[in-house]
Each structure stands twice: as structure tokens, then as C-alpha cells.
Amino acid sequence: MVWRAGSGHIGGSLSMVEIVLVLYHCIMKVDPQRPDSEDRDRLVLSKGHSAACLYAVLAEMGFFDRKLLFEEFIRTHGRLSEHPDMQAVPGVEMSTGSLGQGISAAVGMAWAARHQRKPVKVYAIMGCGEQQEGQVWEAAMAAAHHRLDNLVAIVDFNNAQVSGNTSDVMNPQPLPEKYRAFGWDVDEVDGHDIGGLAQMLQKANPAEKPRVIIAKTVKGKGVSFMEGDFHFHATSLTREQYEQALIDTGSE
């Protein structure tokens, strides 16, 4: 879909494929036939630029027709914009794209769910470059202060952002220590290990604490020429690259 659209944040989409798959297949309580059901779990894609991955999983889950991936991704009159629009796409819970805002929205959802005594769990996926946004830490402080134990954040730590490796651009590490100091329960996991991710995401939050799972990932995972290369943060593909990517990922 990215190749056809001639645009899309492919690197950060590929780094979180397993995270999103595990969430939708093994963890979250959602019903693609009833995308608006009140007590569904929520996923906020705070790193909204990786919407291509979210769309692919939502379509695979049956939230909408797979055809849309090819016909409506980054098309002027299409519903699947490069950053997700909650009003246009079934299954998208929040319009995101301006970094740092999604995690705050997830805090709001978690607070509202508890306020209304709804058995809703809220998940938010952030990027590693996103950790540089001040708003992330405003949200982190609020989540711990208000003891939101129905909130789970996942950091897709692929160590690459627009202008370079995240650790070179503005190093957010040591991230586990920072979240611990903010009052969160912290775990680390290999973000491409489906079994490990499932195990980690099934764990309950400690009482009155938000959880963050820092997932070590590889930008452009699965595609030989993209892996670990920050240049594939947001780029179009040549026909040769596209064909190589299909071979690398075992796609038709």
C-alpha cells in the first residue's frame, strides 16, 4: 500500500507490526462487527505516522474491507490518511499525528473509563523519538498521579527517527529509569518476539499503577535493505525496492 501510495512511514510501521498484531489478536477486547461498543478496549496510536501498520491490522481483523488499503491510503478523497482519522476509519480510536498528544488522550480515556466504572483497558503505542516531546512526560506524571492501572503504554523503541538514530538525535535513555521515577511499572521486551510480547501484554497492571512496556525493535524490520536504517522513516519505494521487500517478507 505504501508503494502504491508513493508515500508512507514504512520504517516505523514495520517495527511495530508484531506489537499491533499481538494486541488485536491476543489481548484487546474488541469486536470488528461492533467497532463502537462501549466497553471495548482502546488502542491509541500516539505515533500516528505509523498508521499504515494499524490500517493493515484493522483490515485483517475485519474492521473494514482490505480493498481500502490499496484504494484509499493517502488519496485525496480516501479515508485512510497518512495519519489516522478517528472519524473516517472504523477501529481508529483517536486522531493522532502530532507527537505526544495520543498518550494524553489515552490518559483521558483511562480516567473516564474508571470514572464510569467501565471495564475498559486503554493501550497507547508511542515512538522512541516521541519520548523527546515534553507532553509525554506531562501525561506520564498525570497517569501515575491518578493511579491509572487500566493504562498500558508501549514504546516502539526502534532507535531511529527522521534525522538519525534516536540516541544520536536526542537520547531519551535511560527510559526505564525515567518511567520508574515517574511512578510507572516498567518492563522491557523484544518487540519482534510474538510469544514474549503476548506474555508481557497479558500481565496485569500492579494495583494503582500504569504500565509501560519498552519494546526493542528494528526499524524496517523484515526488509533487508531497510532494517535499522533511519532513512526509511518516511519514504517512497522504487519498483526494485518494492519487489525486494515482497521477497524479503515472503509476500506474494
Partner: protein, 318 residues
């Protein structure tokens, strides 16, 4: 009418009561604070409904995005903050978290315009109308007095979608009639006249009415219209009055760049081009000091409003 500096109950005190009464009527309403509730008087709501009050500390950007998240869960979040930080510091959050998806968030900005006189430019909000007016789909409102503010807040809570209400800190003399019914998008004419049109909003409406009294003493009939919905603006009322009088003066507790004057000019230039003048803050920051002195400094007095109308008419008639 006397000083704006104190004595009478200020609009912020009214706000505390209005929020609390709205809380009784709208059970899904929750109030979010950024550590200013003792100042905005939202504290009164917090005391009445502690479970429906969310304190988030000094984090305006977080507050707005949290409110967006809360609104998706079927509650009606009201952010009661300082107008300056809500509009400028959290502008991107208002745009992307709230306005982009037309979420049902009620943004309320206190200490609007120059009305936090001592603190000066850091806390005065002279461009919030400009910023909020530019947000696609945002309804922007300001009340001329406490009676109208209560009705504006009710209308805002009944409406589904993002709204911005700006609230001054000081008292506003009662100007709306007893049988007043606020209608979103309608600009009520508070006084009819055929010689000049004077458009006020919020705090300045009472000044415009006093100016009309002064002008009446000189044989000039001023029509005073209350622009309580700044967006969507009542183009029909403004154009009809302009067609009748041939001159429009706007008066705002805000920068004349992007505020009510600009909004009126946009209507007039397309629908009824007539000469107009704008009274307000002209490409400068506010000042620290006594409110009455600051307002005077920016020409926000009945005398100046009246004399600007007189000067125009003198030019036409000479």
C-alpha cells in the same frame, strides 16, 4: 457606571456558580483544571463535585489532549483554564486533539483580554479569539454579562462539538434584558439607531451602550449590537445594520488583529462595504497596572468610543 476594578462580583465569581449549576443539570460534564481553579473559581465546582473534577497541574497541553480522550468516552469535558495558556500554549492540542475530529470538548478561557491587570502581558490574553477563530469548526463565544454567560455555557453544553468561551476576570454590568434568550450564532441588537453601528463583545458591550448614551445627548443615534457569538458570526445582522447606518465601529478587549473587528470586516467587505474603525489593542502587548488605566490606554472607554463615532460623522457631514 463605575470602575471595573472591583466591588461588584466579578465574572470569575459568577463563573464558579455557573459551572456548578451546569454540573447539576449536565451529569456527564466533568471539569479539568491546570492548577488555576482558585483563580478561575472552578474550585466551587470541585467542591460540589469532587469526583467530576480532574486536577492535572500546570500542564495545559496535557489538559487539552486528556479532555479530547475523555470526550470519546461519552463524558463532556470542560477545560477551565487561563485563556492565554489555553489558546497559545495548547494551540496545537486544540487543533489536532480536539478540532480535527470535532470532539465534544468545551474549552473555557478565563482572564480574557486585559482583565488580569496586575500580571501584565504574560497572563493577558489578547489573541485568543484570533487563534480559536482559526480552528476549523470551533464555535467562539463571549458573554456581555453574567446572565448571558450562564446561557452561553448551557448552549455550549447542549451543542455537540468543540466550543471556546472566553471569560473576563472583572465584573461586567448587567446589559441583557430580563427576557433574554441567547442563541448561538445570533447577535442581538441591544439598542437601535440609524446613524452609526457599534459592535461590542463581552466586557466592551456595556461601554458601547454608555457611548450610545453620550452620542444620544449629541443627537446621534447609535445602534449597539452584542457579538456574543464571534464564530459563526451573525453576518446577516451586521450587514443589515451597516446598510442602514453606513458606518461600523468595533470595540474589543483583544487585539484588533484577528479579533471581532477583523471578523466584522470580513463580513462587511464581502456583503456590505462601508467605512469602519476598530477600537482595541493595535499590534502591541498589554500592560501591567490598574485595569481602568489600562483599558483607557487602549481606548476602551465610552468617551473614546463616542468620540470615534463623532469624528467619523463629522468627516462625512463636512
Amino acid at each position: 457606571m463605575g470602575s471595573h476594578a472591583g466591588g461588584v462580583s466579578g465574572m470569575r465569581d459568577e463563573w464558579g456558580g455557573i459551572l456548578t449549576r451546569a454540573g447539576q443539570k449536565f451529569e456527564k460534564m466533568v471539569v479539568l483544571d491546570a492548577d488555576v481553579s482558585p483563580a478561575t473559581r472552578a474550585k466551587k465546582f470541585a467542591e460540589a463535585f469532587p469526583d467530576r473534577f480532574l486536577q492535572l497541574g500546570c500542564s495545559e497541553q496535557n489538559v487539552v489532549s486528556v479532555a479530547a480522550g475523555i470526550s470519546t468516552m461519552g463524558l463532556i469535558p470542560v477545560t477551565s483554564m487561563f485563556a492565554c495558556f489555553l489558546s497559545k500554549r495548547a494551540a496545537d492540542q486544540v487543533a489536532i486533539s480536539v478540532a480535527l475530529s470535532h470532539l465534544n470538548v468545551k474549552l473555557c478561557g478565563s482572564y480574557a483580554g486585559l482583565t488580569t491587570p496586575n500580571t501584565g502581558p504574560t497572563h493577558q490574553s489578547i489573541d485568543d479569539v484570533n487563534i480559536m477563530r482559526g480552528m476549523p469548526g470551533m464555535v467562539v463565544m463571549e458573554a456581555a454579562d453574567a446572565v448571558e454567560l450562564e446561557q452561553i455555557m448551557e448552549a455550549s453544553l447542549e451543542y455537540t462539538g468543540p466550543t471556546y468561551v472566553r471569560i473576563v476576570r472583572c465584573p461586567c454590568p448587567r446589559v441583557v434584558p430580563d427576557d433574554y434568550q441567547f442563541q448561538m450564532g445570533k447577535a442581538p441588537t441591544l439598542r437601535e439607531g440609524g446613524d452609526v453601528t457599534v459592535l461590542g463583545s463581552g466586557l466592551t458591550v456595556s461601554m458601547c451602550l454608555q457611548a450610545a448614551d453620550i452620542l444620544a445627548g449629541k443627537g446621534i443615534a447609535a445602534e449597539v449590537i452584542n457579538i456574543s457569538t464571534i464564530k459563526p458570526i451573525d453576518a446577516e445582522a451586521i450587514a443589515a445594520s451597516a446598510a442602514k447606518t453606513g458606518f461600523v465601529l468595533t470595540v474589543e478587549n483583544h487585539s484588533i488583529i484577528g479579533g471581532v473587528g477583523s471578523a466584522a470586516a470580513e463580513v462587511l467587505v464581502e456583503q456590505c462595504p462601508v467605512p469602519m474603525h476598530r477600537v482595541g489593542i493595535n499590534d502591541s502587548f498589554g500592560k501591567s497596572g490598574l485595569l481602568d488605566n489600562i483599558l483607557k490606554n487602549f481606548g476602551l472607554t465610552p468617551d473614546n468610543i463616542a468620540s470615534r463615532c463623532e469624528q467619523f460623522l463629522a468627516g462625512v457631514r463636512s
